[in-house]
Subunit: 331 residues, 2 copies
């Protein structure tokens, strides 16, 4: 039996393409004592991975050229020499883009198979859901009646942020990049949704937030953020979760300076990564699971099939192809 791996072929300059990925075929690995053989079931593709394709220090270590790319994966134990992980166990964790991989279990979390579709542990009940949970509830702290803006609202994180903000009793405005996504957000319960590609974002945001903006959860950056800065209320809170509009920039992005806006409104802005809240992940998963079970949270996935489709699904993130969580299901 053979095993396919996707390695980083080269580092992108600006927008990445299929050229950055190379498929390699090797022998099926064999687990040693204390190890398991994992069969990949679902592969998560996420915008933050673009940063790992660059060389140099960032908040996650870079991928190495010629080495496997790794990311969030749900996998099943198909051979086991590990006490705690019998055959049939399903785990989630950071694993290489391979059809099969060997692990000693470090960094993997066993997940239930009877609570929710196991792919949800890459989305609503996984990294994106926890990102939404901690960024919104710890940094933005929306109160009932306040106005919350979410950029990238139809993405894996944004769609959870908007729903959590509604649970908190806030008025929620989302931005997204197509009329279909706008319709999806309205269906999901967003009070307002703006197609930033067709609207005049400055005017549309001011119209959608007549009482100003109290909280902003930013996945995108750029012109949407500039529009929010012009509508901040006193003591507004901004969580910087992502800047997908900048990830492929080849020059330092320039824009209106925000410091004066934060100054005159006493507003707070904070960047974060979900690992900042590592010690609180169990709390987050428990709360998200409750709301899911109660029907207060809805999941949405854009699933493509086949190991060979992983690069295309990743590249699609930067073209806005996904609604909700982008996932690749193994055939």
């Amino acid at each position: 039996m053979q095993n396919q791996t996707i390695v980083l072929a080269s580092r992108p300059q600006g927008e990445p393409s299929a050229d950055q990925f190379r498929f390699e075929t090797g022998a099926l690995p064999q687990p040693a004592a204390g190890q398991v053989l994992l069969k990949t079931r679902y592969v998560s593709v996420d915008p933050y991975m673009r940063g790992r394709m660059n060389a140099g220090k960032s908040y996650v270590a870079p991928f190495e050229v010629g080495q496997p790319i790794s990311g969030g994966i749900v996998a099943e134990v198909v051979e086991s020499q590990h006490d705690q992980l019998p055959v049939g166990s399903v785990v989630v964790g950071n694993l290489p883009w391979q059809e099969y991989s060997v692990s000693d279990g470090a960094g993997l979390t066993r997940i239930p198979t009877d609570k929710a579709p196991i792919s949800y542990f890459l989305g609503l009940l996984g990294m994106p859901g926890l990102t939404a949970y901690f960024g919104l509830l710890d940094i933005c702290q929306p109160k009932a009646g306040e106005t919350v803006v979410v950029s990238g609202a139809a993405g894996a994180v944004g769609m959870v942020v908007g729903q959590l903000a509604k649970i908190q009793g806030a008025r929620v405005i989302g931005t997204a990049g197509s009329d279909e996504k706008v319709a999806y957000l309205k269906k999901l319960g967003f009070d307002e949704a703006i197609n930033y590609k067709t609207a005049n974002i400055a005017e549309a945001l001011a119209a959608a937030a007549p009482a100003g903006v109290d909280c902003y959860f930013d996945n995108v950056g750029g012109a949407i953020t500039d529009a929010v800065y012009n509508n901040l209320n006193k003591n507004a809170r901004i969580a910087i979760c992502g800047q997908i509009s900048m990830y492929n920039a080849t020059e330092v992005p320039v824009g209106p300076r925000p410091e004066g806006k934060l100054l005159t409104t006493s507003s707070l802005m904070k960047g974060f990564i979900v690992s900042d809240y590592h010690s609180r992940w169990p709390e987050g998963v428990a709360r998200l699971s409750e709301w899911l079970a109660e029907g207060k949270l809805h999941a949405e996935e854009t699933i493509t099939e086949g190991f060979d489709q992983i690069p295309a699904a990743f590249l699609g993130l930067f073209k806005g192809e996904n609604t909700g969580k982008a996932i690749v299901k193994m055939a």
Copy 2:
């Protein structure tokens, strides 16, 4: 007897000039029942007042054209029909730029005359000192051994920030606009001081902060801030107190976007105004007074004399003419 008043003659476009101020002469006002006649002793000129010269909403109400300018003043009661404020009482508060004024005492604080020079209640023990105290200790929260950068370090707020950061055990880097100010900061105990007008600020800051920047207290904005963004440590804290380099801008200031830097370092940035901490002012004055009495804090004032010198002292703030607190003493 006559009474001089300075009114706003016109709103500035960009850098203000003497043309914006008009001296008017009127009759000495008479206090009614429940009022006092105040003789102005010291007038505070502060950078934030530039914002009040503009029309339109900001964090403090604008001055009105044709009406007296007002600001921090220490005054003495020279006639009294007020139970709590006998003749000889000294007060601090927001009062019009007049030689004499009448007040019912609302918003005024009586200050001791035997603890410190009464002018200190416009500086170290007043608004600038409290601004330094709350911005540094509440937002930046420096820990022993951390690196703190202060821009406008030789100004009324900055010089207190640097000293408070030293009291907390931090390593302190200040920026200022002349070699004389740099020498003053070194004398005051700053570990490093940079003349941003002659240094390459990006290189100088990186060299002065080899372990990165944990806290940034910003009074200035612009290129100094950009240099700090490039040296942020994980979980850095930035207090936006002022943006004096932008106050006279006639177009929206543009620069490298900071959001990505905050994102990859999980850093926090917060604007504030000292009135956000109004309920804690007594605590702040008490702590600052203690440190002053213990010799751990030093005051510095640039004092000019004469009511007619108030506009020039104010305009001098934007030329960097003051070291420490800029104050006008009545003749």
